[in-house]
Subunit: 872 residues, 2 copies
């Protein structure tokens, strides 16, 4: 078993064994990049350390001696030497970066003897005593657990005594005094003299790094970031190089490209005669990298060549630390650089132009989770830093907006007309009747509801921002104010909401507009060429259809017909249908609705010329269309019935668990005439649009089946109606009939479904609700506790639960495809626009995903990345 | 391919091929029982008939000739003979009896020639002309489709002309006139003379029988009884024998034992010189069978011997038709006799004593679906026949009761105390607060709710009858009346309800008490010896536990703790817990509840000495414990808080879909202190009862998990609490921790569950709700349409849905058993007491079922029958 790797012995692929830092140092060494010499103790050794009861094996200790000897040989220096002592840094390095979470020791190897030798060698006693006192402090605190305050007090006392107001004023003698005092502090605190044997120092430091893997902050960080606790950290032991040995030295950090814009330019900061921490500390103002070019063009050229080399090698923009010691350049670290979404897109496209990346590699490099930044407005960072945070809820629809708060949709509509001001709608929850208000507002906040509540779904469809499930809200609609954490905010208070983070702020915050750049378009074009999955949109009207098309939708995967029913021009006839006493009355009401639906579908078919449009028959329970109790009198008058009769209808239709009640295909089974009317509207619209010269591909979808007979019963009505109309029209029109798979049972009877449907579409919202037994409208309350107690890794309404819900999706897909080779399988739940879910659906063998129009670009790139990971 | 079987060529096992009647006739022939000769055309020929486009193949027609020749040879008679003509009956006979649904032709073979020959041979022209006119009428109507009225008119005219007031008065000449007139009618109606070739008659009759398989009434009957439409019918062609040739002849029907009581006695009716239809017609009063013994002891002895022979052969009580022609006994049909539940039990036990059956065969012979009759009161049949039917709902809990109607539980309680009268509770729905009223009433009817609604579950637990989901009810509680189909019934109107059929009657109906006889006890004893599955009870208190034990329960499979929370002495502290502001307030409330729960569990453990008791932690959503809106002021006063605060709590806890809301283990995750308190109560009670010398086997069940971490999170609290208490007590006490599998996801993560639970129990009520997406409280509305439109074969809340829900049960059982060989797997949903479900659970590999106490006997016998069908 190889316990230690000299830099150069490993490769960048060995991150699991060597940690990210160690693997990259090895890689760079092999590439010929000037890296200070060193070695990496593997992560396996950390695991072994804990297995042994927090002890390193004799074998490892022997290997450390052996590899240190190699290091001495490579550097020509020697541990504890009285002429040319070797100093090293000892740093942690896990598989993934955990910045600041684990321990580091610098300047290790310094002893009383080594200090004298260094002074002799450098002729710079101030520098040497300075690094000695730094080392004693760091080692004492990090490795030996001596309190920080003890060290700080000594320094403060001395500065006070001498009248210094800055560390920069201390001279060599001062630092020597401090060093000696520090040695005494450690001796007193630990009951033993400060270790003067470099190997003892080294072994202690390695243990300290291993120990820091399970430090509280590291544990919390891993919990928070979903990092496996069992991985362990590697330890990198590396020769020290110093940027502060004189004006010929220096240190800097840089990105190989501009991380905000993606422009190809070296972007970084630099200081002569300084250490890394001086740049961070901000005491001296760092220089732009250009200054290095002015002062030392040769060295700048050397650096620039190395950067090109590293970019070409890593095929990505790099984030680099470097040091110049006495005119010699060392690269201390390289890693892929973090960047804004816009920069990520530009870098990827540019690198293809530069021949560094293939199109596939460019697409694979995109951080899909960040793309939302480009599709929606975001708050200006500086303004945001100064904003007054109030509370937060669920990040239900991305984007940022400021505006004056209102608490009812009518109020929003009238205010907008009067003043034209930007408004934000705050509601306990929204219902389809709020549509008018939602159209005029910039964004929505609801007290109740989750990621798939009405407000969330509508917001995503409109591309507006939304924060849902914001439990701290107490809204008093009548009196026009809300209370959050005891503070009252009256109507028209300026507020800002961020649907990407779920956070709410008081006051107005400057926003940056969305940037659907040409580079982004290029990435989308390439992604489309690569991807296997179809990407369709959930859209219910002409406007959303056009938006979807502009983003690249290949069809409509879900057209919900209920949204059409709430329109003022129709709701009365919908209600007439609901309160009808018999079939004749119902058919009369449906006859009036028919022309409206016909118009809806005609517009959508026109917009979607040549592309599939999948229309779901009416889904929600009928009581959703009836008025609230306080509007009964008014509505009854409109319907020309007694309020009593309407009250009775409300009572009869009341359900304890509407989610599991009389809805979906169950409505069609009870009232086939409703499905017949909708079929008529769809097919007649399709016939008319076809006659007008366009290509219409209608798909009729039966919702919420749990038994096969529900599907076959309604399919008979649908086909009979459609075939008669098509025959009468005398044209050729193909249509499909399929079903949603959104109850667990529908997924369990896949073979029956496959044999009776032209297509299926997973409704993963409802499927998630029923598989978990979580109501999306109520789960907010306990999911908070679940997150706090680490019961759920992620919100199953945001990313599809692959273990449970996914198992049903897999099972059903396999079964329907087994019996019906031509069947088309899609998904139209909210998960259809979420990257990890899209990868799962790709791997599961689905044909397409469907999502809100504004998610289409994310879905397209995600689908391409899924194909690149796992070719279908 | 053998198309036709002579009687004697087949066996009783060949019902699928020969039909029930044909198979038994063949069997009897082989046994040596005197059966008129004949043959059976197989059901395959019926299937082929339809495959050929409603035509018989040439091969079959040839075979009919061949087998008719065999029949002629066997009988010594000949088709169409002018000396000794062969007459036959042509009857349908499907796999299962479809009485009266298909066609029959008697006396076939009669022609003008044959009539003369018969007169010559019998010297009885009246008899011969009578059967000729019967044949022409039957053949004309059944085979040729001539209208009944045409025949009836001729007979009526003749009777009127002659002044006869009965058919019995017609003489030979009259019948001859009628016969000739009938021939003319057929000739006119069909445009061709009545067929005078017996083979033509036979072929036409066979076709008619085949055609009648798909007659409207047969189709409807099969739909209604779940009989496969593709089976087809066999056709039996059999020599005619006549019981009406003189005083030496006769006909009768009998059971080999008394079908009402099960007593061993020949039980039947008999007429000399008569045909079968004369017994049914009721014109003449039939004689008891004893009379045959008096008049012809030799023949009676012959008959009795045959009966013994048949009973021994069929190992069951027989239902037999016989005919005596000129002193010769013929058995026309035998089949297992229908009987009452009580008779079924007695016959089975007696037959074991008589050595006819083994205990296993006796248990297998029991009709478990009828056993409810013995466990609950039933209406007197005669009284029921005269009762005034009003409406019906779901048969939610078996039994029958009469009483005066009341509409609120308080009213019931106070009326009962005042008058002591029998009462029936009619409610829109019941909730745990109705318990007091439910205790004093004889039975319950609810407008809403299904087979597993609160009313239904409580009723079954109490052994009272209940009709739920009775949609026609409109109850006005305030004004004290209800309206059903427009008729008003004020409070205290006498009513009767039948929970076995779901029917409601106005007025009082006499009831017969339950008869839990000694024979029934014997069957239960044998069943227990045979069965593999454990049978436990769902019981929440001492009373139910004792009832369950008296019926043979082997433990408690589900003790619901929420019922204990509603008691007046506790509800206030429960509410204090709910409205608490913080942990300290919650713990204060829980401390007060602890002694109550301790008492509950102590009583149950005492009663269940030595048997397992599985206690489910609190399951329902908390708002169920809060008052209705109109009681807020009063309750707030009791709690010493403002009504406003209580209103806020109500609002905060309101859920859109409580079934999928904050309940089950989700409460425990939010408030682990609640689970800790319940664990304390369980374990302290167990310790105390153990110390008192009894054996306690507590099982703690975590409800409604959908992720494994919910279980592991709560198990940690439970074990920590329990282990500390047991250690402190210094005794040995073993307890188990397990979980309900009632969400689809819990069933899908079986391996994780198996690795973390000592036992699992399927909650098939909730599992059914979530798998179908049916709310049990709301499904009543649309399941009615589903039944009417034949979408669902059966109510999935009554018998477990083996295709969907069952698939999850199978999957989970296999997974948990794979990873945990010691795991105990049970079911505690209502399906645990339903015979077809029990067989499924047995076959699936479960260890036990748990059901309401009053279902225990049914479950025990069902479990034994499952084991006999499929040994484990």
């Amino acid at each position: 078993m190889k316990r230690i790797y000299m830099f150069g012995e490993g490769t960048k692929e060995q991150k699991n064994l060597l940690g990210g830092k160690g693997a990259n140092l090895s890689e760079m060494k092999t590439m010929g990049v000037p890296v200070p010499a060193g070695y990496t103790i593997t992560t396996d050794m950390c695991v072994e350390y804990y297995k042994n009861g927090s002890k390193n094996s004799k074998e490892l200790l022997a290997d450390i001696r052996e590899y240190t000897a190699k290091l001495e040989k490579e550097t020509g220096k020697e541990f504890g030497s009285s002429t040319d002592p070797l100093l090293v840094s000892v740093r942690s390095g896990a598989r993934v970066s955990m910045p600041g979470m684990m321990d580091t020791v610098l300047n290790l190897g310094l002893t009383d003897v080594a200090v004298e030798a260094m002074i002799e060698k450098t002729g710079n006693p101030k520098f040497v005593w300075d690094i000695y006192r730094r080392f004693i402090h760091m080692f004492g605190e990090v490795v030996q657990g001596v309190e920080y305050d003890l060290f700080a007090a000594v320094l403060d006392d001395l500065k006070e005594a001498k009248g210094y107001d800055s560390d920069l004023l201390l001279n060599a003698e001062d630092w020597k005094v401090v060093s000696k005092a520090y040695l005494a502090i450690v001796a007193k605190a630990t009951g033993a003299p400060f270790p003067q044997d470099p190997f003892t120092q080294l072994e202690m430091a390695v243990n300290a790094v291993f120990e820091s893997w399970y430090s509280d902050r590291a544990n919390i960080y891993r919990d928070h970031n979903g990092i496996d606790h069992t991985w362990g950290t590697a330890v990198n032991v590396q020769q020290m190089v110093f940027g502060n040995t004189g004006e010929d030295s220096g240190t800097g950090v840089l990105f190989t490209r501009n991380p905000k814009t993606g422009e190809k330019e070296i972007f970084g900061e630099f200081l002569f005669n300084a250490q890394g921490e001086d740049i961070v500390a901000g005491i001296r103002t760092p220089l732009k990298l250009d200054e290095l070019n002015v002062q030392n063009p040769k060295l700048y050229k050397e650096l620039a060549d190395i950067l090109d080399n590293l970019e070409a090698h890593y095929k990505d923009m790099q984030d680099i630390e470097f040091t110049i010691e006495d005119g010699i350049l060392y690269i201390l670290q390289t890693r892929n650089g973090k960047r804004t979404a816009a920069a990520g897109v530009k870098v990827a496209v540019d690198m293809v132009a530069e021949g560094l990346l293939t199109k596939e590699e460019a697409v694979a490099s995109i951080d899909v989770f960040a793309l939302d930044q480009l599709l929606h407005p975001v708050f200006n960072e500086v303004a945001l830093a100064n904003a007054e945070y109030v509370t937060e809820g669920l990040a239900a629809s991305p984007g940022a907006a400021s505006g004056k708060i209102v608490f009812s949709s009518e109020r929003a509509a009238s205010l907008k007309e009067e003043t034209g001001e930007k408004l934000l709608l705050f509601r306990k929850e929204t219902s389809p009747e709020d549509i008018e208000g939602m159209i005029v507002c910039e964004g929505f906040v609801t007290q109740l509801g989750g990621m798939t509540s009405h407000a969330a779904v509508v917001a995503r469809g409109m591309g507006k921002c939304c924060v849902s499930g914001c439990g701290a809200l107490q809204i008093n609609e009548e009196e026009g104010y809300m209370i959050i954490n005891g503070k009252k905010y009256p109507e028209l208070t300026p507020f800002s909401i961020d649907g990407t983070t779920g956070k709410l702020y008081a006051g107005t915050i400057k926003t940056k507009a969305a940037s659907f750049s040409e580079d982004f378009q290029t990435i989308l074009k390439w992604s489309k060429e690569i991807k296997f999955l179809g990407v369709k949109a959930n859209a219910d009207n002409e406007r959303d259809s056009l938006t979807a098309l502009s983003f690249g939708a290949e069809g409509i995967g879900l057209c919900r017909t209920e949204h059409m029913f709430f329109d003022d021009t129709r709701i009365t006839d919908v209600r007439r249908f609901i309160i009808a006493n018999d079939l004749a009355e119902r058919e009369l009401a449906l006859e009036k609705l028919l022309p409206h639906q016909l118009k809806d579908f005609t517009e959508i078919f026109n917009a979607m010329d040549g592309k599939t449009v999948c229309i779901r028959l009416l889904d929600p329970p009928l009581h959703e269309f009836l008025p609230q109790a306080d509007e009964v009198d008014e509505v009854a008058a409109k319907l020309d019935i007694t309020p009593d009769r309407l009250h009775r209808a409300l009572e009869t239709l009341h359900e304890f668990n509407p989610m599991l009640g009389h809805r979906g295909c169950r409505l069609g089974v009870s009232y086939p005439e409703l499905s017949v009317m909708q079929t008529k509207a769809i097919i007649v619209a399709a016939i008319n649009v076809t006659k007008a010269g366009k290509v219409v591909k209608p798909e009729i979808m039966v919702p919420l089946i749990s038994t096969i007979k529900e599907l076959t019963y309604l399919t008979e009505f649908i086909k009979e109606t459609a075939d008669a109309l098509i025959a009468e029209a005398g044209i050729k029109l193909e249509y499909k009939v399929g079903t949603m798979v959104e109850t667990p049972r529908a997924a369990l009877i896949g073979e029956q479904v496959g044999a009776n449907a032209d297509f299926i579409s997973f409704g993963t919202n409802d499927l998630t609700q029923m598989t978990f037994g979580f109501s999306r409208d109520d789960a907010g309350k306990f999911l908070k506790d679940y997150k706090a107690k680490n019961i759920l890794d992620s919100d199953p309404f945001a990313a599809v639960d692959q273990t449970g819900v996914g198992q049903l999706v897999k099972l059903a897909t396999k079964s329907v495809q087994k019996v019906n080779k031509d069947i088309v399988v899609g998904v139209c739940g909210e998960h259809g626009g979420e990257p990890t879910s899209i990868e799962f659906f790709h791997n599961t063998g689905l044909d397409y995903v469907s999502c809100s129009p504004y998610r289409i670009p994310v879905a397209i790139v995600s689908a391409a990345q899924a194909q690149l990971k796992n070719r279908r």
